[in-house]
Each structure stands twice: as structure tokens, then as C-alpha cells.
Symmetry: C2
Subunit: 174 residues, 2 copies
């Protein structure tokens, strides 16, 4: 499937509602359990997605459009959310993410991206040369991937409870 801006937006605009369906008012056992030391709970993942809206996707798109390969992206802090989410409720985080995503999509529209602009190149601090359409494709896959992480982390809380069915559930061994 080739990247198309409309297809990408079709996924990006859904993520806040999907996370709300999955997580809002769920009990703390599901929300705060993780996969073991140095892994993330569903609550942590949501904070990570918020930090991405603030510092990653649209800022990097603008960086590509304004500076091309001349200036590398600011490295993304994968742990910022542990401090930033402290003391917040899940409902607050969901509302924040929903609002930030709406603003991001608004800004994306305002960039008036043409097929030509989508081929513009920027510089990733580790990966080197990347294009704007690769950045936007990654935004989509990043959303889907973290929904996948959330359901995997939740699944694993029942790794023992499923008994012999574990053999049929590869998600429990990932």
C-alpha cells in the first residue's frame, strides 16, 4: 500500500477514540500493570503518545519543510512521560491526547502538503536521510504499534489465568 495523506489521516484521527474505548474507566489493575521491570503500562504508553504530539510528529514535519537536511531533528525523549504524567488521571491524559491530536491534524492540513512536498528530505539524528512521507507513515504505524503494545501488556496479565490455552495465544509469548 503506497502512502497517501488521506489514508494516513484516516488512521491518525481514530486513535484517541480507540484508546478511550480501550482504557477509560478500566480498573487500575489493567491500567498500571506492565510486562516487568523497565517496561510500560497502558498508562505509560498514553503519556508517550502525548509527548510525541508535543515534540515529534508535527515539529519534525515543519523541520523538514523549513530546513530540509540542513538541520537534524531533536532526538525524541522516550522517557519524558514518566515525569510528565505523574499525578495525572487517565481521563486527563485521554483528554489531553485527544486535544493535541486534533491540533496536530489541523496543523497537518495547514501545511498544504503536495505530492512534491511529501518527497522532501530531512535528517534523522540516527537514521540519516528520511522523507516527509516516511515521517508521516511512521506516525501512523507508531499509533497502531502502541495500540498493539497496550493490548499485549493487558493480555499478559492473564498469562497464567488462561491455563493450557496459552499454547494457542502467541501474544502471551512476545
Amino acid at each position: 500500500m503506497e502512502f497517501q495523506l488521506d489514508h494516513a489521516k484516516d488512521i491518525l484521527r481514530r486513535t484517541p477514540a480507540t484508546l478511550t474505548s480501550l482504557l477509560q474507566d478500566v480498573s487500575d489493575e489493567w491500567l498500571f500493570s506492565n510486562e516487568g521491570p523497565d517496561t510500560w503500562s497502558p498508562f505509560d504508553v498514553l503519556g508517550h503518545l502525548i509527548h510525541g504530539e508535543e515534540t515529534d510528529w508535527i515539529p519534525r514535519a515543519k523541520m523538514i519543510l523549513e530546513h530540509g537536511e540542513q538541520r537534524a531533528f531533536v532526538p525524541f525523549d522516550r522517557f519524558a512521560m514518566f515525569e510528565k504524567s505523574k499525578g495525572k488521571s487517565l481521563r486527563e491524559l485521554l483528554a489531553t491526547f485527544e486535544q493535541l491530536r486534533e491540533e496536530s491534524l489541523q496543523q497537518l492540513d495547514e501545511l498544504n502538503l503536495t505530492p512534491e512536498l511529501l518527497t522532501k528530505r530531512g535528517k534523522h539524528p540516527e537514521l540519516g536521510v528520511v522523507t516527509l512521507s516516511e515521517l508521516l507513515s511512521t506516525w501512523v504505524v507508531h499509533d497502531l504499534s502502541h495500540i498493539g503494545q497496550i493490548v499485549r501488556v493487558m493480555s499478559k496479565q492473564y498469562s497464567e489465568s488462561v491455563g493450557p490455552w496459552r499454547a494457542y495465544l502467541p501474544i502471551l509469548s512476545r
Copy 2:
């Protein structure tokens, strides 16, 4: 996390809304693409979940309560949905799944399960002896696992489009 009926229902009642958020009105490219020959599209997965409501979870729970280990479950047909979903729209399948899940949860309540009943044993045609709480835990993980499958299948449509970012996205290699 130990199995608790309330925790399990907390997840089971969410799945229809989560699938609606993820899939309703999404373009056909996202909905009908799969991971290659003999793999399932998001549309196929939804049909599989419907077939589970009809033939797997509550019927097996009743079988355990009524027949214990005396009678093995009817084997689950993992391919029935290819025929049954034919000609149906996604909206029809989502509505069917939502209604069937509501009925399943209603029936689950009507079983008036006690901690003692949850330890009752049944017979799986391949796995042998299983308990009712293991069946219900598996129902939860099965839901979460298929949400994970759907987002993985959708992600893979952009395996090439993400360019060098692929290195950071393990979901694309599963």
C-alpha cells in the same frame, strides 16, 4: 493478576466499541488488506470474533457447567467466517458483533457464577482438562489478541512506506 469475573467483563464489554473506533468507515485498503496468502484482513478478524460469540465462549461455559469433563467441546471452526461474512458490509458485522457480545454478557450474568463454579472443569478436544475461569480468561486474551492482530495487519501495509524507521518498529517484523 488473578482472574476476577468483574475484571474480565470490564474488558469484554469494551471490544465492540474499540473495533468500531478502529474500523468503522475506514477505507477499503485498510480493511481488506492482509499479511499475505492465508492470512486474515481486519474484516476477516471481525467475522472470526462473531463466530466465536455464536459457537465458542458461552456455549463452552454452559457445556462445562452442564457436562463437566464428560463431554468435550465442539471444535472451533477457525475458517467459518470466510463463508459467513460474504456480501456483508463492515457496518453490518460491527452491529452484529456488538449485539452478540451484549447477549453473551447478559448470558454470562445469568449463569450466576460463584468462585466455586469458576473452578469447574471441562474437556477441550485438544488441550484436555480446562477450567471455567481459564475459558473466561482466554475469552479476554482472545479479544485483546485479535485487536493486536488488526493493528499489526494495518501497520504492515506501511512496511515499505516508513523507510528507515522500520528499524524502530518491531511490529512490522512479527
